[in-house]
């Protein structure tokens, strides 16, 4: 029906696959962290597709960063809340 471009999910999986050698050479614990990073990028695939960026991997990296920062902000809030509690 005229779809020529692979879906953003398919392309994402190909990009993830292209890092398989890098992943293999990492320590096991680091492999799991890498997997987590890739999983976090999957939260924003719809936006990545809509972006129609010529190099989608850049958008995937930005998505990973977005999720990381979300986590930082959440932790910051938690820390502030803990620190502000009366002793």
């Amino acid at each position: 029906m005229g779809r020529t471009l692979p879906s953003i999910t398919q392309f994402f999986l190909q990009e993830q696959g292209s890092f398989s050698r890098f992943r293999r050479a990492l320590r096991r614990a680091d492999q799991l962290v890498l997997d987590d990073l890739f999983a976090s990028a999957r939260q924003h695939l719809a936006a990545a597709q809509y972006a129609t960026h010529a190099l989608p991997f850049e958008v995937f990296l930005l998505s990973m960063l977005l999720e990381e920062h979300k986590e930082v902000m959440r932790l910051r809030e938690q820390v502030d809340e803990l620190l502000s509690r009366p002793k």
Binding site: M1, G2, A39, R42, L45, A46, Q49, Y50
Partner: protein, 743 residues
């Protein structure tokens, strides 16, 4: 001296010389007439070649009227064509194909349009249209419609129905009797001996004179069986009312459509009567006869065709009628190639609808809002049609003449919206409801296929750029809806092509979303409606990785207690009935909780039910029929490098002499050891002791996990259940396994 008859147009088909019409007259009589109906095809191309075609046509023995005309090609504007008017309509097909083979380099138009559609376009009639027919003797002089296809509630024709049903499925057993029902009488008769059966059927046909012969397995078995019997025994069966014509038999075939194999079974059609087969009528289960008649009504296809339509044929029929009425030539082949884009342009255009990643987990008081028939609505409002040049991408209504596609869709879309409105206002037990629902479903089905058809490579009035423009508008509309929601402080839980799920603290009923709906309609220019208010809805992650959201797996309970489910086991066609039922029951147990606060009680009840179900399975108390897996054979057996379970089951069927074509389904059980499956529809019943119970137990638990794990997680994550828990990161727990293994 002319007569005037008023009634319903029942059927129209070619005979040797012209057209035969059947009418169900107001006085109760079924009358037939003949009508002269010359039909034309056209050719365009180099003048020298057109002259050769002219000479060739004159040399054929088919009576034609040849002339030069100026006619409109949708893409090229007014062009000069050779007009070939064939006086005997039945002869156009063969003549056209011979002409096209002899002079293939010419461009042909109106070559393969079904006769019924031409007639419908020429006179403004359609199957079961109320009309007035003027005749002289048997000859119809004129026919005038008193009706339109767009009436919600047309006056029903008093159809006489004869029902025939073998006493078992011929694909799975040997039928011994046939059940006959007509005019309130119901009885069964043995299939053997043949002569009394045929004599009786013949008498029933003459006495009842049914308009509709409604069968079960009539296309695939019964009708061919009866016809063969009639030939062998020498007793004539007046299946056709028009006994001068042969019963029409169409062979089965398999074809590719959108990358999938589709199988179309044999069809048997009558003349002067309709034969419909409940098992071979597209979507009969959803709409029944009302839906089929509606399909015939709006597409112009004769009822026997309309019942067996494949996707795309319905829409293309409607487009043909529009084109014929507008005097626009219908090309035989689609010639337009895509206009060039840059690589960047292709990156931007080649996309579908926006499919989001939902916020995984349980959400309370969510509203599902959907654009109503978004893509057709876009095509109509923004005048998207292959022959209409496109300008910008702002969501402004288009000016200028409507193209063929919007012209065709607009009345259908209006009718669908009218049904939707009417169904909301009709009382629960209004007797019109089922008919309205059936007709609305038929309209909805047609509208759903029209978008795909726009991009279809063989569609005469299809074009990839138009298809892409529609999805682009769709994405823009969805994003504006999201922005409207966020501007009004709603949280957007999920979005999917033409719908979104939103929630806001304090918004617990439909009226709280009115303002949002109005704002979205304002910003997009498209109608949008509340699909329902959920007490709670769960969006599930990927089965393989709990961190990854997937767009199409969710379940939820509406405020009225009804359940909506997508993508999980009970919605999949290959899930065994036992497991689907268990999962559905679990959902019903959860739906029994009055709201999300009381889910823990429901969860305990659900866990008890699961343990009981697993016990039943282990004790062998589940009937094998309930454990059947039903899968489609996706390719020829030879093409499998390692055979799927379905393929292995089909091999067993073939060994027993039963053929299964790619595109058809095969039913089987999982069995212990090799080959691991046992086809169901074999002559000997399977041994229940060979069933692979542990495997089914795994499937059962997995189906239970799908539904219960998110509820469990939600209860454990929150105290006092905050409004939305984003459970991104939850792992699918195996609490159930440890629960059960302890027994």
């Amino acid at each position: 001296m002319t007569d005037v008859h008023t009634g319903w147009l029942f059927d129209a088909y070619p005979n040797g010389k012209n057209l035969t019409l059947w009418m169900l007259c107001e006085d109760g009589q079924r009358r037939h007439f003949v009508q002269d109906f010359p039909v034309a095809f056209y050719a365009a191309g180099a003048p020298r070649r057109l002259r050769e075609l002219w000479k060739w046509l004159e040399a054929q023995e088919v009576p034609v009227r040849l002339s030069r005309k100026e006619r409109r090609d949708a893409f090229r504007g007014m062009i000069t064509v050779l007009s070939v008017e064939v006086l005997e309509p039945a002869r156009l097909d063969a003549l056209f194909h011979r002409a096209a083979s002899s002079l293939p380099d010419l461009t042909y138009y109106d070559g393969d349009i079904p006769l019924a559609l031409r007639h419908a376009a020429a006179f403004g009639v359609f199957p079961l249209a109320r009309c007035r027919l003027e005749s002289r003797g048997e000859t119809a002089l004129d026919i005038v419609p008193l009706d339109t296809p767009w009436k919600l509630d047309p006056e029903p024709a008093p159809l006489r129905v004869l029902s025939l049903e073998p006493d078992c499925d011929p694909a799975r057993g040997e039928p011994g009797r046939v059940l006959i029902a007509c005019e309130g009488a119901r009885y069964s008769q043995p299939l053997q001996p043949a002569r009394p059966l045929l004599v009786n059927l013949s008498a029933v046909l003459r006495r009842c004179d049914p308009d509709l012969v409604l069968t079960t397995w009539g296309d695939t078995w019964l009708m061919a069986y009866l016809l063969e019997l009639s030939r062998q025994v020498g007793v004539c069966l007046p299946l056709n009312r028009d006994e001068g014509e042969e019963v029409v038999v169409r062979r089965e075939h398999t074809y590719f459509s959108y990358g999938q194999i589709v199988y179309r079974g044999r069809q048997i059609q009558l003349r002067g009567r309709w034969h419909l087969d409940r098992h071979n009528a597209t979507l009969w289960n959803d709409y029944g006869l009302d839906g089929v008649l509606e399909m015939a009504r709006v597409t112009g296809q004769p009822v026997q065709e309309a019942a067996r339509l494949s996707p795309g044929t319905g829409i293309s029929s409607m487009q043909f009628i529009t084109a014929l009425r507008q005097g626009i030539l219908i090309p035989w082949h689609k010639h337009q190639a895509e206009a060039p884009k840059t690589a960047l342009g292709l990156l931007q255009a080649d996309m579908g609808g926006m499919v989001y990643q939902p916020m995984v987990g349980l959400h309370r008081d969510a509203a599902g809002i959907d654009f109503v028939s978004m893509y057709p609505g876009i095509m109509v409002r923004f005048n998207i049609s292959p022959e209409v040049p496109r300008a910008g991408m702002d969501l402004e209504p288009a000016s200028g003449e409507p193209g063929i596609v919007p012209l065709t869709l607009a009345p259908l879309l209006q009718k669908r919206l009218a049904f939707k409105r009417a169904l909301v206002t009709l009382a629960r037990h209004d007797c019109r409801r089922p008919a309205y629902q059936a007709r609305a479903s038929a309209a909805k089905w047609l509208l759903v296929t029209c978008f795909g058809y726009l991009g279809y490579k063989n569609a005469r009035f299809g074009r990839i750029e138009a298809h892409e423009a529609v999805t682009a508008y769709g994405r823009e509309a969805l994003l504006r809806a999201k922005e409207a929601a966020e501007d009004m402080d709603f949280e957007v839980l999920h979005m999917y092509v033409d719908g979104l799920w939103v929630r806001r603290e304090g918004c617990g009923s439909a009226v709280d979303f009115e303002a949002l709906l109005n704002e979205i309609a304002e910003r997009t220019g498209l109608p949008i409606a509340l699909d329902g208010m959920y007490r709670w809805v769960v969006f599930l992650p990927s089965r393989l990785d709990g961190r990854v959201p997937v767009p199409n797996r969710y379940f939820g309970v509406f405020q009225d207690g009804s359940i909506k489910v997508r993508g999980i086991e009970c919605r999949r066609r290959d899930t065994p009935p036992f497991i689907a039922d268990v999962q559905m029951t679990l959902l019903q147990i959860l739906a029994g909780a009055p709201d999300a606060d009381h889910l823990s009680g429901a969860l305990s009840e659900a866990q008890v039910f699961i343990r009981r179900s697993a016990c039943e399975l282990r004790a062998g108390r589940v009937l094998p029929e309930q454990l059947l897996v039903s899968q489609k054979l996706s390719r020829e057996l030879g093409e499998y490098s390692s055979p799927s379970p379905a393929a292995r089951a089909v091999r067993q069927m073939q060994a027993a002499g039963k053929d299964v074509r790619p595109g058809q389904r095969v039913r089987f059980l999982y069995t212990r050891g090799r080959p691991g499956v046992r086809a169901w529809d074999l002559p000997a019943p399977p041994d229940p002791r060979t069933v692979d119970l542990p495997r089914y137990r795994t499937l059962l638990l997995r189906a239970a996990q799908t539904v219960l794990a998110p509820i469990q997680q939600s209860l454990e994550a929150g105290q006092g259940y905050p409004g939305s828990e984003n459970l991104f990161g939850f792992k699918v727990k195996s609490g159930l396994e440890s629960d059960l293994s302890g027994r």
